[in-house]
Amino acid sequence: MPDLSVNFAGIQSPNPFWLASAPPTNSGYQVMKAFDAGWGGAVWKTMGIPIVNVSSRYGGVNYKDKRLVGLNNIELITDRPLKDNLRDIEEVKKYFPNHPVIASLMVDSRDEWQQIIKDVENAGSDGLELNFGCPHGMCERGMGSAVGQEPKILERITAWVKEVATTPVIVKLTPNITDIREPARAARAGGSDAISLINTIQSLVGVDIDNFVPYPVVDGLSTNGGYCGPAIKPIALNMVKECAMDPGVGIPISGIGGIENWRDVVEYLLLGSTTIQVCTAVMHYGFGIVRELTAGLEQYMLDKGFNSVDQMIGKALPNVKPWEHLNLEYQVKAQIEDELCIGCQLCYIACEDGAHQAIRLNENNELRIPSIIEENCVGCNLCSLVCPVDNCISMVRTDSGKKIETWHQRTEKGSIPTTWNDKRAGGVGHWIPEPKDALKQDKKEL
């Protein structure tokens, strides 16, 4: 079996699967249960001066028959007294000395920071995560994302922490910022040992349209919250990649955001994360999902010949390039596998109305198998994405494969379009119907 253990900025963990700081890590009971189920580490629910929560607290985004593709919350940090949390941490560490427990912290003044660090380290925590990410409730009081959005303050607080910390420090970043690399660099400058990202995205999931109140409704009123769950993965992945590729960051990353299955985990690792953290998927399905994460990751490593997680980290990064370095000569075109087609004609209408009028309906109305008009197909992919049948539409390479020319190279050669009606425009020669061909015969006459 491949070795799943990782060393994250000096924190040894039996596997890369950590619980994110959130309701699943509220108590010793939950964390013990999670470790017993197979989770490698846990970031404790953020501690500080305890708060008071409202009810209700969550709003969900459903897509068709699928529940909770996104979750929005207006919860704050822990509502438990610090001593209860400390007692629980101690207890967990007695039973699971080799499973890292990371204390997530959010306080205000330098004294408070330095005091709480001593307390949690005394209780046995293996690392510190500074919550500079929470986008609601705490930021109004100058904490959470209010810090994460101000690289200078972030750097200063990180430095306060580093003055006293004896365990590794992780700064948790908020995505509610234009360029994620700035707070990441500030974390490094402040001396942080690692970063974790992303925290939730500022959001409003929907409105009760009968009563004119957004969700979640608290006695007739609402407020903005933080968005998480499968829907945010693409945003998080991009931010992880941004940090992983930035030489000014250069510290280990714990990837967070929408992770639900082994494939998500692999993607995060390949884009530069050393550990991953999960919250919503556990809130939805419980700790048991770790079995699927473990089995899936192990199988993938076996299939690909990876002996350790280290070998995978950042493996996809060399293949991420700025747009101008992509090969403009590369050409794919859609191809329909007639035997698999079920005749929904979604590819047709998608290309017809939403892309490049490169699909024609079958002349035999009964057959309903559309065909690609090769000259018109620009290889955008849309049809293959809407097709409901696996492998029915594939994108087939049609260029010689011998020539590589990028926008960058063309710019250097001076062969990019530069005037309004430049003949070198990409769309020149592409057939487009006349505007009035869109109308039925009887509407064509002016």
Partner: protein
């Protein structure tokens, strides 16, 4: 022991005739509607005789616009709720659903349709404005699906409408014929009452139009007449013993059962003659009424049955047995049915040929003849200039529903010889448009 005990109360009856398409819950409707692909130029729509915009109404359910969904359905088919339950969807919309091509369960269109329309019926949600009175009057003969659909559409267009119905209740074979496990009479009548309240047409019950005099009166008082008279009683087979006690036509047996419910008389050993959907229904119903054995006997082979495969499956699933290539020669008995004498058959060039010396007798104490319904030739022959085809069905212009007598329009079983409720609903609506054009 048979699977079903004789029902002793109405509750027993409903249990034996449990709905095969129960109402969906909100969760089921959301999940099922979520599966629909919203196909372009969807094949399910083309397979629906009333061309309901199926992907649209399903999407409306999924997006929480139940009322809009019902309106989409009713705009195409006034019998939306009833059709959702009674249509043979396996060979119509659902049979055409693209999921079938992948061997994935098609979208449960019928039940989604019922789910949406039921909501409007229960909330008495009115979807259509009636045009101002246009001063013209139309008489409709028959308050079946064809007649009522025609009435709704005519009212929407501003006509005054009087329906003349022979029986004491509306909706024709939907309450007198359709199997109770498809829909209850209460549910049928609820939709018709909902339509009547919305469209305000008059139904004159117990008012059969029978004589030349009746017809002359309608002719003088109304600007146009729609014939939605359906078919008549079960045709005879023309063999000895058809008059014996306990030998009954399927349509009569079913009508009686629909009204008498648990009080329906049923034999211990029942033979059903025929291979159409009515035969399948009658056999299922006999079994659910507690008959110990039910035998479905058909002159031709199994694959030649006119019945849909799923109706035969349903009949088999309640314990009836199929006997094929068996032609009835005589119904045996002195005063009461005691058995049926059959001969084995062979089909040569599509014709039934009796094998000499192959006679055999199957004892039984009840025979149900599901051998087709007669057309209402007697009534129709009294109307001037109306042409019938060789099967006794009224000939019409398919675009307008107009008969060869321009003042008369027709639709439903009376023109097609017996199809489905949905065809009658489509015909009635189309004929209303035809009448509107005719009277412009």
């Amino acid at each position: 022991m048979p699977e079903f005990r004789r029902p002793k109360s109405e509750a027993d009856f409903h249990k034996n005739f449990e709905q095969i398409k129960p109402l969906m819950s909100k969760t089921e409707a959301n999940q099922e509607s979520g599966r629909c692909l919203f196909c372009y130029d969807a094949p399910c729509v083309k397979a629906c005789p009333t061309s309901i915009d199926i992907p649209l109404f399903i999407r409306q359910i999924n997006n929480g616009n139940l009322s809009g969904s019902a309106k989409t359905i009713y705009a195409a088919n006034y019998f939306g709720r009833i059709c959702g339950n009674v249509c043979p969807t396996e060979v119509l919309c659902e049979g055409a659903c693209v999921f079938e091509k992948q061997n994935i369960r098609p979208i449960d269109i019928g039940r989604l349709q019922t789910y949406a329309t039921y909501n409007s019926i229960r909330n008495n949600k009115k979807h259509f404005e009636l045009a101002a009175d246009n001063g013209k009057k139309v008489a409709i003969i028959g308050a079946g699906p064809a007649g009522i659909s025609c009435a709704c559409e005519l009212r929407k267009l501003g006509f005054t409408v009087d329906i003349f119905e022979a029986k004491s209740q509306p909706s024709g074979l939907t309450i007198y014929g359709v199997a109770p496990y498809k829909i209850t009479n209460e549910d049928v009548l609820e939709e018709v009452a909902y339509l009547q309240e919305q469209f305000q047409f008059k139904i004159h019950y117990n008012s059969a139009i029978q004589s030349k005099k009746d017809l002359a009166r309608l002719d003088s008082e109304y600007d146009a007449i729609f014939l939605g008279i359906g078919l008549g009683s079960t045709s005879g087979i023309g063999i000895k013993g058809e008059n014996l006690d306990n030998c009954i036509g399927a349509v009569e047996f079913i009508e009686n059962m629909k009204m008498e419910k648990h009080d329906t008389k049923i034999g211990k050993n029942v033979i059903v003659l025929g291979g159409g959907n009515t035969a399948m229904d009658a056999a299922s119903e006999a079994a659910r009424l507690g008959a110990e054995t039910v035998m479905l006997c058909y002159r031709r082979s199994k694959i030649e049955m006119r019945a849909y495969w799923f109706e035969y499956d349903l009949a088999k699933s309640v314990g009836t047995r199929g006997v094929f290539n068996a032609a009835p020669l005589e119904i045996i008995g002195t005063s009461h049915v005691e058995g049926v004498k059959f001969a084995q058959t062979e089909i040569i060039d599509g014709k039934v040929k009796i094998l000499p010396g192959s006679e055999f007798i199957k004892p039984c104490d009840m025979v149900i003849k599901a051998t087709g319904q007669e057309t209402q030739v007697n009534l129709l022959n009294q109307i001037d200039k109306i042409k019938l085809d060789k099967n006794g069905c009224i000939s019409i212009n398919l675009e307008t529903g107009q008969t060869t007598n321009p003042k008369y329009f027709a639709g439903g079983d009376a023109i097609n010889g017996g199809k489905e409720v949905v065809n009658a609903a489509a015909d009635g609506k189309k004929a209303a448009t035809g009448i509107n054009q005719f009277l412009q």
